[in-house]
């Protein structure tokens, strides 16, 4: 990596994500306002807030699914800007899990997991399949490898989606409401996988309404409303002693 691409002199070496004064608009709508966020390596962050507060948009900006218009985003020392090389590097580095799973329905579970390793990382097929099997075992569905996503339950699909992301060996994982589309019975199986992942030291940003999950794994909880970060704190203080009225109101409604 060239010097030009590494982080600015002031940044700390162990920052995985650094967002500085980031703004985003959808047309005239100011959806993210002056977001400042530092995520250390191995840190687990939960982002919560009412719907439409911009929490999904925030994490989608981190891998350029959405484009921010002002401010800076640095991922592992690489600035996220229009440079396609940077975007490519950053996307390899970040895994993302979506609310609607977004598995590729025309490919089997195994093919879903091997697609990006083979085409993006140029891994030999055999090696990619071994890696995929390893992660499918970790999410406890190795026996479904030859099925198509449409033949699996929602919880199984989401676990495949997690395995698919892990096959790219990312340093950071983003979760965009990973359990919101699941039946209550299936939420636990997905959360279990995520807890395992957190315990292994994966850097995680997770948009979720699962406050129990937040309490068990989060290092930090971020509360957003109307495009702004209202409050951030460690989970214990966040839940027992919220500072702002808006947070108190939100917590009183969901807990």
């Amino acid at each position: 990596m060239t010097q030009a691409m590494t982080q600015p002199a002031t940044a700390e070496q162990d920052l995985a994500i650094e967002v500085k004064g980031m703004h985003k608009w959808y047309g005239d709508f100011h959806v993210l306002k002056d977001i400042n966020l530092n995520v250390k390596r191995r840190e687990r962050i939960i982002i919560c807030g009412p719907s439409g507060c911009g929490k999904s948009t925030l994490i989608r900006c981190l891998n350029r699914l959405e484009v921010h218009q002002r401010g800076e985003i640095w991922i592992d020392g690489i600035e996220l800007n229009d440079d396609l090389k940077h975007i490519e590097k950053i996307r390899r580095d970040i895994g993302m899990v979506f609310q609607q799973f977004n598995l590729f329905p025309h490919l089997t579970v195994m093919e879903n997991c091997c697609l990006a390793p083979i085409w993006v990382l140029k891994k030999p097929r055999r090696e990619a399949e071994e890696t995929a099997m390893h992660y499918l075992e970790r999410v406890k569905i190795p026996d479904q490898a030859d099925k198509y996503p449409g033949q699996l339950s929602g919880g199984q699909q989401q676990r495949v989606a997690i395995a698919r992301s892990l096959c790219m060996n990312p340093n950071i994982m983003l979760f965009d409401e990973p359990t919101s589309a699941l039946d209550p019975e299936m939420i636990k199986e997905v959360l279990d996988v995520m807890v395992d992942l957190a315990n292994e030291g994966m850097t995680m940003l997770c948009v979720t309404h699962e406050m129990g999950f937040a309490k068990t794994v989060a290092d930090r909880v971020i509360f957003m409303d109307s495009g702004e970060i209202i409050e951030e704190n460690d989970p214990e203080s966040f839940f027992s002693n919220p500072q702002s009225d808006r947070t108190k109101l939100f917590l009183s409604q969901i807990l």
């Binding site: 891998n63 979506f98 609607q100 025309h106 697609l115 085409w119 996503p149 449409g150 033949q151 992301s165």
Partner: protein, 364 residues
Amino acid sequence: MSVHTPHPDLPPPSTSVGIIGWARKNLFSSPLNSILTLGALYLVVRFLPPVINWAILDANWAGSTRDACTDGGACWVFVKVRLTQFMFGFYPPDQYWRVILAFGLLGVLIAWLLIEKTPKKSWVAAFTILVYPIIAFVLFYGGLGLPVVETNKWGGLMLTLILATIGMFFALPFGIILALGRRSSMPIPRALSVVFIELWRGVPLITVLFMSSVMLPLFMPEDLRIDKLVRALVGISLFQSAYMAEVIRGGLQALPKGQSEAADALGLSYWQAMFLVILPQALKTVIPGIVNTFIELFKDTTLVLIIGLMDLLSIVQSAFADPKWLGFSVEGYVFAGLVYWIFCFSMSRYSQHLERKLHTGHKR
């Protein structure tokens, strides 16, 4: 406290299975349906026997002149005598083997690609796309020691198949490019695609063919003469690719945005995402539309009649003018219709098979 005992699975009631169940469900499910069933049955009984009598039982098959047609049914002798012309046009009879070889080879290649579990599909595909056109050109036209047969001698089913095959061969990839262009966020490719599609869709194929054969030569330099068949082919290919583009765009639009987002998030490039994730799904969705366009293209080749190319239909029609065979146009049209129907129906059946094969979700 009551204990729950699972209810055992019971067989369905006997009236809902078997022939009786099928008939009740499909033929006599309501008074209106029953009337329609009986009405349809009446029409079949009333009209099918005469048709069979005319076409098969009372038909004349033997002989080689119209005097052989005495039984009152169809005179298939007419078609039999003219068959080689219907198939090959005015292609020299001693060179028929070249046409048969070219189509036979294409048939083998296509079968190889379509039948499951044949080895080395990618090599055969590459051969079909890159090498076969050259072989076919040499066989049809000549060169490399084979005598040249000018395109004005080509005709009949052979010409129809050449027009249709080449038209499809270009319309699909070109349609894909146009559809991607129209959905692109880059202004210039988008504008070019929109203009192209709207222009070609806005004019009738007959106009396109007329312009290609009558107007185009007026603007061309004297010494630059492009073959009439080539001009017709270019016209048909461009015309149909505009339709194809809109069919494929429908498929692209039906795809949830999450698919391309997931591909992006995994780090796939635009073209990787297109070819590995987006297009396989989009094309699968619009198989009915694609095959519809193909069938349309196949039948639209009959319009080359107006620029003097002798495709199957026009050569059959020209045979009606033969003074020795006046009055057999019904047989001729039935024959031509049957040939078109066989090809179109095969395409339709194959597309249904393909849809079933590519279906990866829950089956019901």
